[in-house]
């Protein structure tokens, strides 16, 4: 009872903090039909700075971290990414009215990570003075890539299986991935080609490559002065603009969901909580093994709860052209992302109660 009250009061307090307040403000703007809009180049610039900030910050910490401390949570993150996709495959993708292809794409997007949501989590922890491992940003690609690769491979294999049983001669799953046209997937060696193709494509996507660049700069160079004088101080302010944009986008995508099956709405509402809980549990495990901090557990939960909003959608559009983007983008941007961001205080309260900051 006390625990519940605690959690509730933490959540209420967070709703007034900048991050959530700007998100809700953005939703209200869109709801009242405002013509306010942030130009696309500005959005891209904010995202770039934010990804570099997360990457560089993580890179600087990786320098000093010891190997085990780093590898265990990375493995945990990758496992969470894969398991989220498997859950989606067993639930959403089998629902009546949901095409398996669309379901898998949605599961992939929810397994992947949103840098913006992660950054929102970091800002909230920073705001409360709660510590977390500096290298947390380095876990992002592990969960993100694991989820996207799993979802794409499983979706394409099952499409291939269907094509093999039903005799459909043409339009057979031909796909373009970063310019390379790949046919249907017949034998093990082409399996690896497929996985490699997806990996290369993901690594080249703007978000992942900006994050990896940041990591590399943090590890191999000494960007500390510019990190502290520029990336760090601008971070919170730009995040507030980003939350505005995400709130507006969420509201305007909600309407697209009217056209898709109800299952998506249920999934969009429940999945962030379920995935977050999964991430939390794995984080708890890592906490017991390596002494991973309570803040780190929260951020692992946040990554798991989040769904990719920058690189994920175009990667999936390229790799699974038969999946309907209205379904997966609508579910993720319209429901998954705001629910994930709004549930960050929940994970914070939970970590406070179960581990203690």
């Amino acid at each position: 009872m006390d625990l519940l009250l605690d959690i509730l009061s933490t959540m209420v307090a967070q709703f007034q903090k900048p991050t959530l307040a700007f998100l809700i403000g953005g939703m209200m703007l869109a709801a009242m039909g405002s013509k306010f809009e942030v130009p696309e180049p500005v959005y891209k610039f904010i995202v770039i700075l934010l990804l570099l900030k997360v990457g560089i910050g993580a890179g600087i910490s990786v320098r000093e971290a010891d190997f085990v401390e780093l590898v265990i949570p990375a493995i945990g993150a990758a496992i969470v990414g894969v398991v989220i996709v498997l859950i989606g495959m067993r639930t959403l993708a089998r629902w009546r009215g949901v095409s398996p292809m669309d379901g898998m794409a949605t599961a992939g997007l929810f397994g992947a990570v949103s840098a913006s949501t992660l950054a929102a989590g970091m800002a909230m922890l920073d705001g409360e003075g709660i510590a977390y491992e500096g290298f947390i940003g380095a876990l992002y690609p592990f969960m993100d890539i694991a989820a996207l690769v799993t979802a794409i491979v499983l979706a394409r294999l099952s499409a291939k299986r269907k094509t093999a049983t039903a005799p459909t001669p043409s339009g057979d799953g031909t796909m373009t991935l970063g310019g390379t046209v790949a046919g249907p997937v017949p034998d093990p060696s082409e399996h690896w080609d497929l996985v490699r193709g997806i990996l290369v494509d993901t690594l080249r996507s703007p978000a992942i490559s900006a994050l990896l660049l940041g990591l590399a700069l943090g590890i191999f160079a000494r960007p500390d002065p510019v990190y502290e004088s520029f990336y760090e101080p601008l971070f919170r302010g730009l995040l507030s603009i980003l939350m505005l944009i995400m709130g507006m986008e969420a509201w305007s995508r909600l309407s697209e969901l009217r056209k898709v099956a109800h299952a998506y709405i249920l999934y969009g509402l429940a999945a962030p909580l379920v995935h977050g809980a999964l991430g939390f549990l794995v984080g708890l495990g890592v906490h017991h093994i390596t002494g991973f901090s309570a803040g780190g557990v929260v951020l692992l939960a946040v990554m798991a709860a989040s769904s990719s909003d920058i690189s994920g959608p175009p990667t999936l559009r390229g790799a699974l052209p038969k999946a309907n983007p209205s379904a997966y983008v609508g579910t993720s941007t319209g429901l998954g992302t705001p629910v994930a961001i709004l549930s960050i205080p929940l994970f914070m309260a939970l970590a406070d109660a179960l581990i203690g900051f």
Binding site: Y43, M246, E249, E256, G312
Partner: protein, 105 residues
């Protein structure tokens, strides 16, 4: 003045590269593209709105080729390869050009 054919393809920005590969494979000497927004059977698409990795924008591609068959062939190959899974329309217009050698390989 010489007769030539203009082929126009309006489709999703994410496949610009794939479509221009088909255009080049079809023997065109060049192409021009502009960012676009629009509405069609798959709903509204905007070139300006932020979010979703720039996935929601359209592109209008135009190609001048010297003969009509070439235009039709490129048109069909683009429609076959992409229009099952991606938004898009395509049409052809007759045009007059000054320098036919610019548009023939």
């Amino acid at each position: 003045m010489y007769k030539a054919t203009k082929l126009v393809i309006i489709t999703e920005r994410v496949i610009l590269e794939g479509v221009t590969d088909l255009i080049e494979a079809g023997g065109a000497t060049g192409w021009t593209h502009v960012d676009a927004g629009g509405r069609g059977s798959r709903g509204k698409r905007s070139a300006r709105r932020p979010g979703v990795g720039g996935m929601m924008g359209n592109v209008k591609i135009e190609v001048i080729v010297s003969d009509h068959e070439k235009a039709e062939a490129i048109m069909t190959s683009v429609a076959d390869q992409y229009f099952g899974n991606y938004s898009g329309i395509t049409y052809i217009e007759p045009v007059e050009i000054l320098r036919p050698y610019k548009f023939a390989v």
